[in-house]
Symmetry: C2
Subunit: 230 residues, 2 copies
């Protein structure tokens, strides 16, 4: 049995949910809020971060890219030609570079600002750092997002999927990033036809369905969030 500690809107957590769904590996979900660091969770991951995966009574597997490697090692072979990490070291290095790009760099430069300003600040009480969004931060996040959308377009124009010929973890990482920002309605799709076309392809995969049915109490998704034809 798999148990995933995650934060619903967080990009690395969403990436792992997408990956698990691609493997058709059902997992029980346990939600951790990013500003809480419950003591019993620190015993599982002393870094206090999600996602963390546990399989049966095995040791915790901590961090999105570590989980991706673990799932490839334990289940990748069963996917055959649809394996999410390619066979050759050079190609694997390119997928891993892009996992880091989308889950760390792009996430820290864009998604995390949107989530903090437009979701987490609304979920917390004023005494816990809650409040209204800072428009300067949102402006910076939008400018940074533009650069990352350009980069996705650059890759999508030159390759069949983002890391090369085959669908891979790289697409799921970029998909997790945009799904989280799209929930908040901050992806300017009309200006990004190439990115939109790539995202339509990934959004229509069965593995995307659980992510698309996410809904936060009191903070519903943008209107087009669930539409495959947006």
């Amino acid at each position: 049995m798999l148990l995933l500690y995650h934060t619903q809107m967080s990009v690395p957590s969403r990436f792992v949910r997408l990956v698990l769904a691609e493997y058709k590996a059902g997992a029980e979900l346990s939600e951790i809020l990013p500003w809480e660091r419950p003591d019993n969770f620190l015993l599982i991951n002393p870094a206090g971060t999600v996602p963390v995966l546990r399989e049966n009574d095995g040791p915790p597997v901590c961090g999105a890219s570590v989980i991706a490697e673990y799932l490839d090692e334990t289940r990748g072979y069963a996917l055959g030609a649809r394996r999410l990490l390619p066979d050759y070291p050079n190609q694997r290095a390119e997928v891993r570079r892009l996992i880091h790009w989308f889950l760390v760099k792009a996430n820290e430069e864009s998604a995390q600002f949107f989530l903090e300003e437009k979701i987490y600040k609304r979920m917390r009480r004023p005494t816990e750092g809650g409040g209204s969004p800072d428009s300067n931060i949102l402006r910076a996040a939008r400018a940074n997002l533009k650069i990352h959308l350009n980069y996705i377009a650059y890759l999508a124009e030159r390759r069949n999927w983002l890391a090369g010929e085959h669908f891979s973890y790289a697409d799921l990482a970029a998909g997790a990033l945009l799904s989280s920002i799209d929930y908040i309605g901050e992806v300017p799709w009309e200006k990004e036809p190439v990115v939109k076309e790539w995202y339509q392809r990934i959004k229509s995969r069965p593995a995307f369905r659980p992510i698309l049915s996410d809904s936060l109490k009191g903070i519903p998704p943008a209107n087009h969030y669930v539409d495959l034809d947006f």
Copy 2:
């Protein structure tokens, strides 16, 4: 032929130099200063970060953990029982968790502050952000380092090497972290006998020699930096 783009004192770069030395894989070194982002380097790694490894005319392998995976895939098998990533997925996940802990978390919370305040600020002109170290930042870095030294001691007391029975990438990652801070003389060895004993074991490995002969122009290492019996 291997070519490594690196920054001499940077923890992730030092980690890769240690790893290459463990594989006895000679590499040509090309130094990149962290506050410069030369245009031709951005063509190699659009993130602008080191380390980056190139093998022959192959594509760039970007990032310390991505390079570690690449070297394990292309050379790990040849190390036999001395392989730096263990054989089992759970154990590999633990090594990867600790690579991230030391190269990212501990590095960002301690080493990067020491390097910026005590080395890079001295290397840059005042117009480039050079100047004298900020004692508040150094104080915070020392407090954070204390926590990470405690964590290394915690692991070293319970395990033969940091990730388990065998020497692994986890030890090299923690070794890279401490070597960089030790150059500046900021590791309080006298207060950390358990960490010191573990570090003495790793410091005496032949792979450590190139790191120990590092010397920055005008900023020599702490007196005991090269001593195996410090």
